[in-house]
Symmetry: C2
Subunit: 277 residues, 2 copies
């Protein structure tokens, strides 16, 4: 459920982009279970201030994202509401033996992500305050923020491997979602490195921030985080790179205990919390 | 999608009832296609004024209705929102050859409903202004409004018959939904009688209103309206009565042309329109 003024504002993104993002966030949840997208329902709450053109723009973004991943929009609803509201539900299919959850990780498992992090946050920050960085980095950050790509194919690939014991999508930021994956498996974790996307590094530096901390707190990258049996990791990573022409990036390990250690100290959860004060 | 202040208010119903109704409305849509309920997702938008107890009450009503029809709640979401918002999506299963739509009716088909109408509206009116009517009628109206029963089994029974050519649920009132069923089949309709529930008749009379008009305009009864091949109607109605111990009530016929005729005059749509001025 995305609500205008809470989850998005029109000064930070177009309604097409808000529509795309709302569908992409749902597809990312399917990706994190290794499911094939099948159908979606779309319910819209329209405020007095919502015009017909607004609805068309919002829906165009929703439909474009659905079409990209071959998802049928099978139903929905319209209501009046005090703020423009988008509630999307998706249904996917996955072989029961392949379906992954966030709680299957075990001490010793390698933690790996499907891509470098921080691009979506970089795009958000640029939408708020432009920075003097290379135009191609600015454009890639803008794309990552406005048209995020859920890792549906990557999720299906990873879920099909018995070496992958837990999967989660990084919708709320690595610092938050890594803690969730570890806690769900009743493990702790050691984070060894944070792969920072080039655009995120440039924006962080322009803002005088430490790139790793910037990327750790950045939500909505929609990359996947996997816990993988250590012995099987090298072979799986090789197959992954051959299939997707991008590396599966190791970032740390699960360990006995609880909490996440980063640079020798407990990692605070700096990601997105919907009900934080 | 139900929004507090638009689709429900706490002075007219408890949050448990609002939760039940929100799930029942979804199940009624499945019933109208003849589908077996399989799973639901529940997204809640919580306003600043929403307490933890409010959420528990709302969810208890949602869960009670889901349990009654053996529906798994398979996922969902939470967001902040300016008004308490419930967005439920349901998935059902139906054999492709059984699935009904609203547009299959043909001139000559008998129109029939699964129950007498107006009870939910009677309950709504009583919640706004008590009337001196028999206590058992007051109670039945209150129940119909607060705990409506979607006709899931009746819908599956009707959908399994090839004699049933179109189905719709009466969520927006007979005057509106009959017009929709006729128009979807590119037909007109003649309404011969409006079966009025006893409680609705009593409330209408106490308010000085004509009972048929009262029932025609009353939404959210969640009875089903079917268009049935005329020759097959008697046999189907007999089997229906034997199965459900309630009659399948004939109310009119589809005819060539367009529009709905009632008492020799065009029937206005007096039911619920979400975006009426």
């Amino acid at each position: 459920m995305l609500v205008e003024g809470v989850d998005f504002t029109r000064d930070a993104m177009s309604l097409e982009d808000a529509g795309w993002r709302s569908m992409a966030a749902n597809l990312s949840d399917l990706a994190a279970m290794g499911a094939r997208p099948v159908l979606a329902t779309v319910a819209l709450g329209l405020s007095e201030a919502t015009s017909g053109d607004d609805v068309r723009r919002l829906y165009a973004g929703i439909a474009a994202c659905a079409q990209r991943w071959k998802l049928a929009i099978a139903g929905g609803d319209l209501s009046r509401a005090p703020a423009l509201t988008v509630a999307i539900a998706v249904v996917g299919e996955v072989r029961a033996s392949h379906a992954k959850r966030r709680g299957g990780g075990r001490p010793g498992d390698v933690l790996a992500v499907t891509g470098a992090l921080g691009s979506a946050r970089a795009g958000l920050e640029l939408s708020r305050k432009p920075q003097a960085i290379a135009p191609e980095l600015s454009e890639s950050a803008r794309q990552a923020f406005s048209r995020p790509q859920p890792r549906v194919d990557e999720g299906r690939f990873l879920a099909a491997s018995t070496a992958v014991r837990a999967l989660i999508d990084l919708s709320d930021g690595l610092s938050t979602d890594l803690g969730r994956l570890a806690a769900a498996g009743e493990c702790g974790a050691e984070l060894h490195s944070v792969p920072v996307a080039d655009d995120a590094r440039a924006v962080a530096r322009a803002r005088g921030e430490e790139p790793e901390a910037f990327a750790l707190a950045g939500g909505e990258d929609f990359e996947l985080l996997a816990a993988i049996r250590a012995r099987a990791f090298p072979h799986l990573a090789a197959r992954y790179a051959a299939r997707f022409a991008r590396p599966l990036l190791p970032i740390g390990v699960l360990r006995e205990g609880s909490g996440v250690i980063w640079n020798g100290a407990p990692l605070p959860r700096t990601g997105w919390d919907h009900f934080a004060p």
